[in-house]
Amino acid sequence: MDGGVPGTARRGRLRVAVRMHGASAVVTPSGELDHHTADLLREQLEGCVAQGRSRLVVDCSALEFCDSTGLNVFLGARTKAEAAGGGVHLAGMLPPVARVFEITGADAVFTVHRALDEALTE
């Protein structure tokens, strides 16, 4: 699947699904986001922005692991999305993923939602 096109892409321990919902692109990474898999999510997020979908809603409810390499992907996508007039919304983070955002203070620069529907109905 090409970057940001609705559908599902997979690399090693990460799967990334993309679908459109109104003005938002809903990106659903599942599995483990690290050095080996970060490129896949980066391509998908940047692909959405390149296609004019700059309101990115990331459904994190199936993301089981994320380290600083994964965090960098979200931070980079945020810059691109905001430059295009949008932003990155993170929904449903599990505790180990939420922890990375908390201890680095990165949670302050994203719009964080408890659950996906909250991010979509906003």
Partner: protein, 159 residues
């Protein structure tokens, strides 16, 4: 985990700082991590397995579970850094002591990790060692003799 094997206390060259005279009373696990293909995920697998073997997992409390997850995060950071900044990780060593897990990653670069200051939460980059600093009671670098690389180690206390 076929390549994880116990070490003997007299394996001086590979032991951590301060272990020079003290006997190795703690369980130790060593895994070779040549190259960078899949090693970060593999290092987490090995660490998770040790956490089960050494009683950190399954966790009795959410706090204890968070500490085990912190250990997986820290090992991920250390191995990633060896791949990104030191031409690849060589070996992962795990040492369990009561209430303490020590993670050690060796690589062939003589340069130490240099946490970026000030840390900026909003920008990509510089988060790895910041996370290590925040989650670990101590961390450090041991430089091997004759310029043969280094060991970066970090210690996590149990819940």
């Amino acid at each position: 985990m076929g390549s994880s094997r116990p070490v003997t206390p007299d394996d001086r060259g590979a032991s951590g700082p301060g272990d020079t005279a003290a006997p190795l009373v703690a369980p130790v696990r060593r895994v070779l991590l040549a190259g960078c293909d899949g090693v970060v995920a593999r290092a987490r697998d090995v660490t998770r397995e040790a956490l089960y073997d050494w009683g950190w997992l399954p966790a009795r409390t959410p706090q204890a579970r968070a500490r085990a997850e912190d250990a997986l995060l820290v090992v991920s950071e250390l191995v990633t850094n060896a791949c990104l900044h030191a031409g690849g990780a060589q070996e992962l060593r795990l040492r369990g002591r009561p209430g303490l897990l020590r993670l050690e990653v060796t690589d062939t670069s003589p340069a130490p990790p240099t946490p970026r200051t000030p840390h900026q939460g909003s920008r990509p980059g510089g988060h790895g060692m910041y996370i290590v600093q925040r989650l670990c009671s101590r961390w450090g670098t041991v430089h091997h003799p004759e310029g043969h690389g280094k060991t970066v180690w970090a210690e996590i206390t149990g819940a």
